[in-house]
Subunit: 146 residues, 2 copies
DNA sequence: TGCTAGATGATACACAGTCTCAGGTGGATC
DNA sequence: GATCCACCTGAGACTGTGTATCATCTAGCA
């Protein structure tokens, strides 16, 4: 759950025009607790009776990613998902049952990455760490319930 | 570069039948130094004059992944790739220019993952770390050469 | 208010991956 | 070596995700 205004402002600050479809997408994104796919955003917009083209959803998520208001992650089994997040380098722990995600910051991993770089001789420019498991709520909930 | 026999044996040991298409795919996979996509394997088979269906390539790579003879990784920009590897949990450092990859083992990351689990309350079942950069050869080679 | 660059929706397209199904074949058994 | 059948195959349809194109629309500036 994020402030829709923050997303809209991020776009505005970066010089993107503030259009109705962008506001709608920002609002839906902001209302999401966990990760979501482009298709889910399009479906929710349709469910709310808002007409937003599929291409526009992709374009808007792309814009939000550029301004670092959302992050694109790979999900196990292929495909992508997005998470609304703070604009600093970090990683996500994603609940594989309910989709809720939390952010963890970078500290020790950055050191680990540097050490791997030294050991392998590679000049490491990019890394991605994604963690999947069960959030506290889903651990407590009985198996299969959702 | 892996021993094609090792891949074929891994399939055999797991109870998979040893068919001509599987041997061909195993041979092509074994001949690869870096990562590769299913499409590349299919293309190389075609180039060698071996007829292997696209579905069969996917099925064989899937089987090889099951027996842990290859690992499926996500590449930046979406899509998947595979790397032939030893059957122990580890991660890959992939050269973003030539595609060559090296394996790094797990030690400190496992500890980091545990500590993230403790901190967030998540029960972490799965994690993936992928590192991208330039290998020593590509760092030495002039920009743009391949 | 008018203008224009940038945004839009519709649509076609590309591509990866999955599924189905009729026919083929590896390998166990005799 | 012959037989048999469960498993494997290729072909091709299908699905889902993401991109490209284009005519039309509109936010926001002068």
């Amino acid at each position: 759950m994020t402030d829709p205004l923050a997303l809209v402002n991020a776009l505005d600050d970066a010089g993107y025009r503030l259009t109705a479809p962008r506001r709608s997408v920002a609002e839906i994104v902001a209302g999401r607790a966990g990760h979501f796919t482009a298709a889910e955003i399009a479906a929710e917009a349709r469910a709310r009776g808002i007409h937003v083209g599929r291409a526009t959803v992709f374009r808007t998520l792309d814009a939000l990613e550029r301004v670092e208001a959302v992050e694109r992650i790979d999900i196990p089994g292929g495909g992508h998902a997005y998470v609304a997040c703070e604009p600093a380098h970090h990683h996500h722990v994603v609940c594989s049952r309910c989709g809720r995600s939390v952010e963890v910051e970078d500290g020790r991993l950055a050191a680990l990455v540097r050490s791997i770089g030294r050991r392998t001789g590679y000049r490491i420019d990019e890394h991605r760490l994604e963690l999947y498991g069960l959030c506290t709520a889903c651990q407590a909930a009985p198996e299969g319930s959702r």
